[in-house]
Symmetry: D2
Subunit: 347 residues, 4 copies
């Protein structure tokens, strides 16, 4: 069986996912695409190239009988409305992160999904499908090294444009860790603090404070320091070290070859996210496609999207207040429905 | 469009490729399977599980209208007959390595394929699709480090069973390097020498001399030392270091996480080929599927299969004679047809 | 010429330095030793073994004509009195860190030394003589990677005894970074904050909160996070990563061999400080001996000892108040005398 | 007690050892120096700078009452005569490698030394004092990984001058491995083969065939491949991998810092032997000085020098004959006297 996918939003990430589904994912094909009127010509061109139908209205695309499942890659504010429409239409939906900027919208999605009676929503946190993070999580869950105590993380990009401003360091960059680290540890954050160092890189611009340090604490008391440095110049450099009671587990950037030359022994550093996480994105979409075929959506859920949204909002607030801000989550409305589990801690 | 694949030989590798095409490859589905009468029950069971048709005869499967393209994963001696039948039936065929044990059979396949007028045959040398080897090849072709001068390689397996005997070290194990290294360097081997060290591991058995050292020379004079050690115990450990005039390029085993514990800082070593080369196998089949859809087979060719077969035969002979044996290839009957190119050497 | 050294305090570190000067340092020999009356027998035995004179009183040892220069390895509180006596006696003196627990005592030492007119005091911060830190400092001073922005550091020990309590994490462990990091950056700290995580290792004891996080800021605004974890079990693990504008410079634990076995590729982690820093200690004493012979003491000065003492005191206070505490240094009384320089920052 | 050293030969290595003994070795001082008449001015200048006596004749220096022990750093052919003279004068002598070009001269030295009744000769094979090789040897002797089966080694220099010709690759470069590898394995070589690849680097000159491959076999049947590449351009790059039955032990070039910049994560490669082996040279001289003081010379012996000399001669012969040449050693005249031991092999 092949899943006929309708995709809304043919921007950068949308195009990448179309190419992915057409060429590397088993069981999925894009049959319908949609974007804003101002992008009609481009969107029609894409539709033509892949033999898909063009829609000028996302809600029409969602309702179309041709569409089995929906992929939302629009700008962030439009995410909840289409997700809710897909649930309404009883169709599986993959929504790029963040699920919603406002946590209240995430709750609306959960309510609709629970009312509907089974999971339909997967949020695009692809690191849950990265082999490196999976191996780190497996080591943690083996509990061979005792409980985690501290995390030291970095999220670095080589450079960003002038449209990228100070809030985006938390909302568009650190949001990945806001999902990934709780998923890794099996527990949520309870507080966030953002510090803007007096000393900045000269490679930033007037609207962006770069780098930024984010400090988080989890329910059990694990402390996290996360460096966000989006103009580091040297590459896309994601690090995550989990300090446990008897061992330190570190995420590695996989290297495939090494060169010795000119008195240096070196390995390449990824140039961008598409290179570093290509395997994760492919696995994410293959997993989603398979789960749609099996009518059993898994992977990052609306609840995960909600938790990340609340944590992100608290960090943003801290950047403004300069204080540590608490992260107050509602109780998970249905832990079983959302498969909320924790790493079992030895007491 | 979906390629309807008929697969002959549902042994270990056959099962892996079925699982791969059914779950991870875009555009391919297995619609027919076949194996020897003695495996009828098992083969029918597999056919049932994936909704494919069972054939008791490989030639019938190849001729079937249901079958667009053929995958041959039988035992080695049966490879040429089915490959020739597929060409006869004008169908694209993927044949696991080795293409043939006897170089003469490879020539028959080339003759049939050239007579037919376009490439139909891809041989299962998957390392050409491994990201590591691709990066090494790209560095070589950039010619940043001058010409290659020496190669130091190892091909290590944790252990093998008693059915694995002394000749298999060359014919089933080193055969991968017999293709991969010429592909990497863009030139063929001219001689091979196999040395059986007096000192063996105690982890081998009476029918297997382990380890073995294989020494090869290429047309331009590059010297290769290749260690084959199939009971090394510590893992599946493939290494390839290319010593160039101004740099050394090394293939790396990619690592995704690292652990510090008990006074050791360590990364895992792959346990077997399916773990080390899973990406390469997936890429190989996706590439093959896409090339079948485009009716343009690429990848390792019958000519590559022939060259590897001759090199392997020379190494086997050297093991018996104890002498350096020359590798005498026929001229490539149609370099353009087989896309035979070389790294341009600066003179 | 040979420097005749008098050493006060034959405890663990004292014995190590005696062994060092007798066996590995050119130009130094221990001719006099002293310790508390309760250790008279042991001290006399040591004196006998190395052919040195026993003194029951440190001040007498300092005054003795036999003694050219003094090494102080007593318990911390006794450091200033003997340092002052050595200056009084116009003798070069090597005082183990910390120079004094109370910054006021450091000022007394500086006053005496400056009054005397030339440097006589070297404080035992050996990391300034570690090849790794030297290479990191050289990279920073090359300014190839722009200004430093952030430091991520860890100071880990495999385990400590029950006599090691919560304050010692700052006063005996982090004190090394209190000197080393300003020395590395060429600027002092202005504030310190210590956080005691709710989540501790079960490998600590009732009098020790372990691990602890220490956050520091420098004059120019560089932010430092320092993990102190003294029961990490896995080894003596010192890390220092300097995040600059266009590059990250990391201190490495040197490794001399690597082993692949049992599906792991691993390098050993140092078991303790004496293994990790043996080269630094040897270089420190050779450098001190040479400077005494040349009558030109260099290396970590009384001013450096003062700065480290003030930073350490602020961190200790923060642990009690839970607040960020400022680090208020007097102006360096004589920058030229104390060779106080900074890394020139590009503006 | 201080050893008064007389040094013959103030060339490059001689100067380095003088500087070493004057500044970094405990218990040694150079009191006499000598070189050829044509270098009288330079030698007298050196003598003046370090306050040593100048000798125009090496034999006079050896006989001088001022001289307790002798260091020979002359050109190779002069090594045996001065070594014999030192034995005659009953003085400990450190002779730089090779002990003698002609194995027969090594036998003369052994005869004289044994007749004298105790060891007086240490040969300058400094790798026995390198921490890396020591760690590899300790792993081997622990026998944790079973017996050694294969060795893969490289000896690379960034570049050499036109005075360095083809034979020197074996006689001045590989000679280090001719001592080090048997010392590591605890057994001698029985044959050597040198192969001159058709393909050479363009960075060599008309009198030097570069690189060269040397193949060796030990008594127990361990096979060694050794690459000698003295114009590799990228640095001084010494590698030694010991393949054992259940593990591979690799020598590492120690790294003290790492830099991430411009899409590369790199560590520096040593520029030359003085940087890579400075610790080994210092340890070698401290060990020798201590052994002289204790009147118990240890370290590489005349027997070791003899074995290396025979192996080197066989390799040189192989380069000319193109054949594998056997290495025929006399029985060790006095295994106890020369402390000849082997790694105990499990049977």
């Amino acid at each position: 069986m092949v899943v006929n996918v309708g995709l809304i939003g043919v921007g950068a990430i949308g195009k990448v996912h179309i190419e992915r589904m057409q060429n590397r994912i088993s069981g999925a094909q894009v049959v319908a695409v949609c974007d804003l009127p101002k992008k009609e010509a481009e969107t029609k061109q894409i539709a033509k190239e892949i033999g898909a139908e063009y829609f000028s209205d996302g809600f029409e695309l969602i309702k179309s009988d041709k569409v089995d499942a929906v992929v939302i890659t629009t700008n962030d504010p439009a995410h909840p409305q289409y997700t809710l429409a897909a649930i309404e239409a009883n169709k599986h939906v993959f929504c790029e992160k963040p699920m919603a900027v406002d946590p209240a919208d995430c709750i609306k999605v959960m309510d609709a999904e629970m009312k509907h009676g089974k999971r339909l929503v997967q949020v695009g946190f692809m690191r849950a499908f990265d082999r490196g993070y999976d191996e780190v999580k497996a080591e943690l869950e083996s509990h061979k090294y005792g409980d985690p105590l501290l995390l030291h993380c970095t999220h670095r990009n080589p450079s960003v444009g002038t449209e990228y401003d100070t809030p985006m360091a938390v909302e568009n960059t650190a949001v990945h860790e806001m999902f990934t680290l709780p998923w890794l540890l099996g527990e949520n954050f309870i507080s966030a603090k953002v510090t803007l160092p007096r000393k900045q890189t000269r490679n930033t611009h007037s609207n962006l404070h770069d780098p930024q340090m984010i400090y988080l604490e989890t329910e059990s008391g694990v402390l996290v320091d996360l460096e966000v440095f989006v103009n580091c110049q040297w590459g896309y450099d994601i690090n995550c070290k989990v300090v446990c009671e008897t061992g330190e587990i570190s995420l590695l950037d996989p290297h495939y070859h090494e060169v010795k030359t000119a008195n240096q022994d070196s390995v390449p550093i990824s140039e961008d996210w598409s290179d570093r996480f290509i395997q994760a994105y492919d696995s994410e979409f293959q997993s989603w496609t398979n789960s749609v075929i099996a009518d059993k959506t898994s992977g990052p859920s609306a609840w995960d999207g909600y938790c990340a949204s609340v944590s992100t909002a608290a960090a943003s607030k801290s950047r403004e207040t300069g204080k540590t801000e608490s992260i107050n989550l509602i109780d998970c409305p249905d832990p079983e429905f959302y498969g909320v589990t924790k790493i079992k801690k030895t007491v």
